[in-house]
Amino acid sequence: MHISEGVLAAPVLLVGAALGLAGTAVGLKKLDYDRIPQVALLAAASFVASFIHVPIGPASVHLVLNGILGVMLGWVAFPAILISLFPQAIMFQFGGLTVLGVTTCNMALPAVLGYYAFSAGIRSPKPFVSGLCSFLCGFVAILLSSLAVAGCLVLTGGSFWAGAKMIVLAHIPVMFIEGFITLGCVRFLKKVKPEMLEVVYARP
């Protein structure tokens, strides 16, 4: 999901930074301060997940966990993802500071969309509906993220078409893995600590 510095064109970077800033502002406004530990926990999980790489398929890619962040945080996924990307940008140059905005958007927008599309279904008392929706939430979040990264490359220059296609293909295994991870997390939380999900539903 990380794009190296110096690849993208300036307009793409600027739009990404602006959208990232706006999303983070919305997220901070919606943030219930009693939930800060939960946000930090999920940000840390997303940070660690980006080191777990999936050696399946044509290229190695890593976990993102933005589906779970979307389910549990809604708009707050923006600040959470920004916080987890920041140390990666400065310590490891996985992408740099200039692409921070773009990467935040690429990861957080699908999380928010997944939240709006599937949170009602996940809340359903029927285990099948709830399970299906949580799987789809994790799956679609990665699908949209990889499409967004591919889109950024295509917008920068036509020569990136092959690379863009490659990104989406390479993330197909990740889509399934994250679908199952999201499914597992939602089922676990529903049984063990349902209020952790309920808080989000009460305050979208």
């Binding site: 530990p37 190695s60 916080i83 990104i167 390479a170 063990v192």
Partner: protein, 227 residues
């Protein structure tokens, strides 16, 4: 509520132990020391050739990817592709800083700047200064020996030695440089690699987690003061 939770939790532990274990094992398998998304590139000089090697974090080679070489003003000097060992080499095109960029695809790229100081002196400069000095000093030193020596034997050997060294001053230099290159190449490689290659270590990851929770603590501290 807490009682219900505890009961539910115990039930899950009982019923889902296997699932949880399998999931944990899978996740652990995926954690491998290869950091897929950083591209490393380094370059070193061998004679008049610059060798470039590029690989993804975790030693996967960047194969058949375009490499471009720029001068400091951004003018493209040459381009090429890495072979299936992730290597690319080219003759030094100009005595200047060389910015070498590899595009590894999927939005990954890396660059390495080879400083002018790392390049060997160009052929024109070298001939202008040092070798001529070396050549002039030897013939000057040897002729005075010849008439001074009374015996013929040393008089014969010294000029022959002098003429031999005279003939090969440039060649000796070339030979020495060549063998130094081969001898030093592993060291230069390692140095260039060390310069670039520091993937995330466990301490970095733990540091990152600590930073996130530190931020959390900071925010909570200020919130609690306000109340």
């Amino acid at each position: 509520m807490p009682g219900h939770n505890r009961r539910a939790f115990r039930e899950i532990i009982r019923r889902r132990t296997n699932t949880v274990l399998v999931a944990a094992a899978l996740v652990l398998i995926w954690i491998s020391p290869a950091w897929a998304h950083k591209v490393f590139i380094y370059a070193w000089v061998e004679g008049d050739t610059v060798r470039v090697e590029s690989y993804f974090g975790g030693s996967k080679k960047v194969m058949d990817s375009p490499v471009e070489v720029f001068d400091p003003s951004g003018k493209k000097l040459l381009e090429g592709r890495t072979n299936d060992q992730g290597e690319f080499s080219f003759k030094i095109p100009a005595q200047t800083d060389l910015r070498i960029v590899v595009e590894a695809g999927m939005g990954h790229r890396a660059e390495y700047t080879l400083k002018e100081a790392d390049l060997p002196a160009g052929p024109t400069e070298a001939k202008g200064a040092e070798p001529s000095q070396g050549r002039s000093s030897e013939p000057v030193a040897s002729p005075p020996v010849k008439p001074a020596g009374p015996e013929p034997a040393p008089a014969v050997t010294i000029p022959s030695a002098a003429s031999a060294s005279n003939l090969t001053a440039d060649q000796v230099r070339a030979i020495v440089e060549k063998s130094l290159d081969t001898r030093l190449q592993p060291i230069i490689r390692t140095l260039a690699k060390m310069n670039e290659d520091h993937g995330p270590r466990l301490s970095d990851i733990i540091g990152g987690i600590g930073y996130i929770f530190g931020l959390m603590g900071l925010v909570m501290y200020f919130r609690s003061k306000r109340k």
